[in-house]
Amino acid sequence: MATMALQRDIPPAGSPLELRTIVGTLIKWALLAVYGLALLYIAWGLYAAGEALFAAVVLALMVGTTIVFGLRRFYTIRFIFPAVMAVLIFIALPVGFTSYVGFTNFGARNLLTQDRVIAYHMQRTIVDASTERPFVLSRDVEGYRLFLPEGEGGFISEPFALDGSPVEIGMTPVSQAPETVLEMRDVVQLRGPLGAVTAVLPDGTDLTLSGLRSFATVRPVYEEQPDGSLLNIADGTVLTPDQSVGFYRNEEGQAIAPGWRVHVGWANFQRVLFSDNVRQPMLQIFVWTVVFAFLSMVLTFSVGILLASLLQWPHLRFKGFYRIMLVLPYAVPAFISILVFRGLFNQNFGEINLILQTLFGIKPQWFTDPNLARAMTLIVNTWLGYPYMMLLGMGYLQAIPQDHYKAAALEGSGPLRNFFAITLPQLLPPFVPLLIANFAFNFNNVVLILLLTRGLPNIPGTEIPAGATDILGSFTYRMSFNDAGQNFGMAGAISTLIFIVVAIIAYANFVAMRRYAAAKGRGQ
């Protein structure tokens, strides 16, 4: 059938096609040119914005696309090029960036680049009190005039427009003050535009607005020294840059905020692996992550397979109805059901505690007791995950020959024995890769933890906020986006370590799957 379709749809090679081919080529090149120019514009913009790395990536994308789609040699590569590029830019690049950040001290305390920190310090200004003098503003048809009184007379400026753009006005000595001056309250309203005015006295002194009523020479506090340190002009102290921590230090050795990003080598990794303050909660969280992922896997598998076996029982009626009902928890978007559970488990007015109180008079502290919070997480995750196992189990159960059960029935074997002697041994091999994948998924099931408990209750007395229900992923996510003390560097280091663990699990899964496939191939 397909070959017939082929004959119909593919036009035969011939002369009328040549024109079409030429037009097609022209269109292709035109599209490529538009696309290339757009990317070039973006790359240029990124470079101008100081994001050299991203600019290089976009430029590489442009060059790569042009080569792959322009040259016939790379015909085959065209099929995978867009997909590979999407993965490289939006997964590999962020992964690389995150790992790289793991080797820096990037975080709330070291947020900026060193240039921005220097700019920040240089912006700080000090008023030279000796030059401070009051001013008045007058207005006539030509514009505003600034007058700085001195003795009987003073200095008056040329008329200038006060529109907020920076202006430099020359002051000339006069013997008397202007006759009409603006009221103080009008001057206050013009404070903004006045700030952009620099008045130059005949002796060359620059004066700018230094208060509501005064102009004075305003100078930066710091002066950059040739050796990179900053000299405080007012009191003569020196700030020395310390590249090992990314801070300026004053003469007493204290670090002056803000800090900048510096490379810290393996320091973050060392802290994670060897520093007691970090390792203690990390170890606890790691153990809980493994327990959580393992128990989630076992519980969802057991419940799912139990239900699948029941639904496969030939004597059972209303199978379709049961199946739809049992699949519902999987069908409803997880973020909705997790939030529903968050409400139902609420300690004070959640429905679950209301029922438990009426029936047994107990009111479990689901969100404040660490063990109950963990139990709740597992209950919710089992509820969410068993239908997946059930659906898969129903598929695999059909592959088990009915003869085995008939033979067992003749021998007088009961349902329990049947399950453990016939069903489970035949079910497990194809399930193993899926179980490992499930383990890896729950190992990183950040959404569940973030939406249900946010990792709470907190483990008391830890240096970095860590919760009893936190898994490694949510712990790291909270570390990055916590309101108090974001630590991207540490988060990057932990992410990299998690990646290594999960990648090994995934690779093992890979090997298991291939072995299984090979074994099946040999068996047939």
């Binding site: 973006i42 991203f54 999407a86 069908a331």
Partner: protein, 296 residues
């Protein structure tokens, strides 16, 4: 079918049905509760499963219609739920279509064409996807923040930025579709080649029309995954009007402002379309799931 003792069989059946019904009641309890809560008065009130004084207030608010209480007070909807749902569906459909295009072409090349380092590329794609996606969001945020300074179209709070970021979630789909292509008869390929078809024509006119069923499965899987995706969307979408449902729904349940009743109605309303898509597609999904896609 194994013939059993009728009396024993009867008790077994009874036990099975009782168990299943009890289990389903337990499983459905949260849904029933939420349904009941959505008709209750106020956001904190507790009560029986069957509300004593049912009100449609929460449903009006979820649909975005201001509600007038009997005492004349007019309540405004707290959040634009319908807009969120629309955002979710829009982003989900566009990104799933994009994912489908990228992964189908790539899967075809990985399955049928020959090029260097094919195995390595395929394996690295799978391994790199194992990096916890939720933890690369800092980098993604930095990237889109920089892009946004050039064109707001690709910046933070833009739906297009999120769609582009989602286009990278393709590895598992490539595997699923590749498995399907692998199972197709290699003779088709040969026949097309002999007729002078280029690889693109073979793909477009032979393999693509034949792979519609698996493409439908992948589309639904991608759509469900994207509509329920939380970490990336939460970081890239900050403005209330731009949020997707998964991000916005959380706004209802802050400790200081716990809109339990309003949330219940909004959750049911917005959950229904996605649930329906899933239930309609579930027969086909089972095969797709066991091919390699992973969801909890």
């Amino acid at each position: 079918m194994i013939v059993e003792n009728p009396r024993a069989l009867f008790f077994k059946k009874l036990a099975a049905h009782t168990f299943l019904i009890a289990f389903i009641a337990l499983i459905l309890f949260p849904f029933l509760m939420v349904l009941s809560i959505s008709f209750r008065e106020g956001n904190f009130s507790t009560g029986s499963l069957w509300p004593e004084r049912p009100t449609l207030e929460h449903w009006y608010l979820a649909l975005g219609i201001p509600y007038e209480r009997p005492n004349g007070v007019i309540v405004q909807p707290p959040f634009p739920v319908m807009l969120w749902l629309w955002n979710s569906i829009k982003i989900g459909v566009i990104a799933s279509a994009g994912i489908l295009m990228l992964s189908t072409t790539a899967a075809y090349a990985f399955s049928k064409l020959r090029f260097r380092h094919k195995g390595i590329v395929l394996d690295s794609l799978l391994i790199i996807q194992m990096f916890p996606a939720a933890l690369t969001v800092i980098a993604l945020y930095t990237l889109f923040d920089a892009l946004g300074s050039i064109t707001p179209l690709l910046g933070v709070d833009s739906h297009w930025a999120l769609v582009i970021a989602y286009l990278s979630a393709i590895t598992l789909h490539i595997w699923t579709i590749k498995g399907y292509f692998d199972s197709m008869d290699p003779a088709l390929d040969k026949a097309a080649q002999i007729d002078g078809a280029t690889p693109w024509q073979t793909f477009r006119f032979v393999f693509l029309p034949m792979s519609i069923p698996i493409l439908a499965v992948v589309f639904v899987l991608a759509f469900i995954f994207l509509v329920t995706e939380y970490p990336i969307a939460a970081v890239l979408l900050r403005e209330q009007g731009q949020m997707t449902l998964a991000v916005g729904a959380r706004q209802y349940l802050y400790e200081q402002r716990y809109l339990w009743g309003d949330f219940a109605a909004a959750a049911i309303l917005s959950g229904i379309p996605i649930t329906l898509v899933f239930l309609l597609a579930q027969r086909y999904l089972v095969s797709g799931l066991s091919e390699g896609a992973v969801k909890g």
